[in-house]
Amino acid sequence: MKLGPALLTSFAFAAFLFILAPILIVVMASFTPRGYLDFPPQGLSLKWYAEVLGSWVWLRAFMFSVALAFVAATATTFICFLAALVTTRRRVPGKSLFELLVQLPLLLPHAALAMALFSLVLFIGLRGTFMGLVIAHLIVVMPFVYSPIVNGLRQHDLSLEEAAMTLGADPVTIFRKITLPMIRPALVSAFLFSFIVSFDEVTVSVFLIGVDLTTLPVKILSDIQASASPAIAAVSTLLMCLTLAMVYVVNRFVGIRMFVENRA
C-alpha cells in the first residue's frame, strides 16, 4: 500500500514535467546570444528581446491581437450576459436548441469551424479586415463566455432581488446594486477567459488575416515555418508572461478554480 501513492506521485511529477518542458525550453532558448537555436545556450543575452521589442512588425501584430481580443471579449461578454439573463429567468421556446448552437463552436472540429467562419466572412465580404476577424472571434469565444455567466446567474439567489424590492429598490436600482455586483466575478472571469482564448487563437485566424493584417499567433506560426530565429522564442516568452499576468489577475479577483467549476 505504501508503494501505490509513491508511484502515483512520481508519475504525476513526471507528467507535470512533460507538460511544462516545452514551455520552459522556449523560455530558455529565448536568451541565446547566437543567431540560431542551440542547447545548452552559450551564454545569456537579451538581444532577441531587444530585436522583437524594437520591431514594428511584431509590435503591430501584438497591438492588433490585443485590440481584436479586447473587442471580441467585451462584445461577447455583453451579448452573452444579455442572453443568459433571459434564459436563466424565463421560459424561452427552443432553449435547448439555442444552448446547443451556442456550444457548437466547441463541438465542431477546429478545421471545420475555421472553414465555416471563413465562408461566413467571405460571404459578408469582410475577409482580411479587422471586422471579419472580430465576427469570427465573437463566435469562437461564445461558448467560453456563455457557460460561466449562466452558472453565475444560476447561483445568484433571486430572493436577494426580491428583498431589495421590499426595501424600495426599483428594477434599475436592483440591477445596479444587487444583480451586477453579485455576478461581477462571473462576468470578469468570462471576459478574461475569452480574452485569452481570442488572443491565443490561431487556427481560425490563419484563414482570415489580410495582406498586412496579421495576429501575433499567426505571425509566430508563419515565422516558425519560415525561419529558426530565436526571436520567435523571445516573442513566445513575452506572450507567456502576458498570459501569466492575466492568470494572476484572474486568480486574484475571481479565483482560478472558477475555470474548472464552470466548464460546460
Partner: protein, 277 residues
C-alpha cells in the same frame, strides 16, 4: 425581477451570432456541393477517388485514436493524484499551458525535437548518436505534440467527475470487504467512467480538427485532414475541395464519437438524470 415578453429581445444579439455561424456552415455546404453545372457531388467523389486523400482521412482517425488512448491512459492517474492532493499549484500547472497559445506550445516541441534541438544535441554530446535523429516530421512527433496539447483537457474532464464521487462510497465498499483493487474496479472506475468518456470525446474531436501541430511537427507524409484543408484552402485556393473535406471531417467526427457517447450513456444509465440525456 420580472421578465416579460419584451425581454426576449435581449436574446437578439446572441441569436444574430448564431445566425452568422449557421450562415457560414450553410455557405460551406453550398460550396461543397457546387459543380460547374449546378449542384453535384463531384467534390466528394473527387475526394474518395484519390487514394492518397483517402489515406489522409484514415491516417487522421488513426492518429486521433492513438492520441485519445494515450491522453486518457495518462490523464486518469494524474486526475486521481490531483483529486487526492487538491492544491492550487497543481491546478495552475494544468491550467497554465491551456492559456498559452498552441503555436507557442508546439514551437516548444520544435525546439526540443528539431535537428538542432535539445534532445539531438544531448544525444550527440553524450555520444549515443553522431548525426541528428529524425524526431519530428514523423507520426511520433505529431502524436507527442498533440498529446501534450490536449492532455490538460482530458485531466480536467476526468477530475471534474472524479472529485464529485462521494468519499464515503469507497469506504463503504471497503467495510463490505472489498480489496483496494476491487474498490477501484467496482466503485471508482464505474463512477468516473463518464469523465473518461467526456475526455475521450474532447480529445478525439480536438485531434481531428487540429491544424497547427500537424503542420509544424508533421512532414509531407504526415498530412492530416486539418493540414489538408489548410493546404487546399491557403496554398491551392481550392475552396470547393476544402469545403468538401471540412464536411467529411465533421461527419466522420460525429460518427467517431458515438462509441464514447454510448459508454457515457451506459455508465450513467442508473444515475439520476442518466437515461434521458
Amino acid at each position: 425581477m420580472k421578465f416579460g415578453h419584451a425581454t426576449l429581445l435581449l436574446l437578439l444579439p446572441c441569436v444574430g451570432l448564431l445566425i452568422g455561424m449557421l450562415t457560414g456552415v450553410g455557405s460551406l455546404v453550398i460550396q461543397a456541393f457546387a459543380g460547374s453545372q449546378g449542384p453535384s457531388i463531384a467534390n466528394f467523389t473527387e475526394f474518395t477517388s484519390r487514394p492518397e486523400v483517402v489515406g489522409v482521412f484514415w491516417y487522421t482517425h488513426e492518429v486521433a485514436l492513438i492520441v485519445t488512448l494515450i491522453c486518457v491512459f495518462f490523464s486518469y492517474p494524474l486526475a486521481v493524484f490531483m483529486a487526492m492532493r487538491p492544491r492550487l499549484i497543481y491546478l495552475i500547472l494544468i491550467l497554465l499551458p491551456l492559456m498559452v497559445s498552441i503555436v507557442v506550445r508546439t514551437y516548444g516541441w520544435v525546439v526540443l525535437l528539431g535537428p538542432r534541438g535539445l534532445v539531438n544535441t544531448l544525444l550527440i554530446d553524450v555520444g549515443l548518436i553522431d548525426r541528428p535523429m529524425r524526431l519530428m516530421f514523423n507520426t511520433g512527433g505529431v502524436v507527442v505534440g498533440l498529446v501534450h496539447i490536449f492532455i490538460p483537457f482530458a485531466v480536467l474532464s476526468i477530475l471534474a467527475v472524479y472529485v464529485k464521487i462521494e468519499k464515503s462510497l469507497p469506504e463503504a465498499a471497503m467495510s463490505l470487504g472489498a480489496s483496494p483493487f476491487k474498490v477501484f474496479t467496482k466503485v471508482i472506475l464505474p463512477l468516473s467512467l463518464p469523465g473518461v468518456a467526456t475526455a475521450a470525446t474532447i480529445v478525439y474531436l480536438l485531434t481531428l480538427g487540429a491544424i497547427v501541430t500537424p503542420l509544424l511537427l508533421g512532414g509531407q507524409q504526415q498530412t492530416m485532414l486539418g493540414t489538408m484543408i489548410y493546404n487546399q484552402m491557403l496554398v491551392y485556393y481550392n475552396f470547393p475541395a476544402a469545403s468538401a473535406s471540412a464536411i467529411l471531417l465533421t461527419a466522420s467526427a460525429a460518427i467517431a464519437v458515438i462509441p464514447f457517447q454510448l459508454i457515457d450513456r451506459w455508465a450513467t444509465r442508473k444515475l439520476p438524470g442518466g437515461e434521458q440525456s
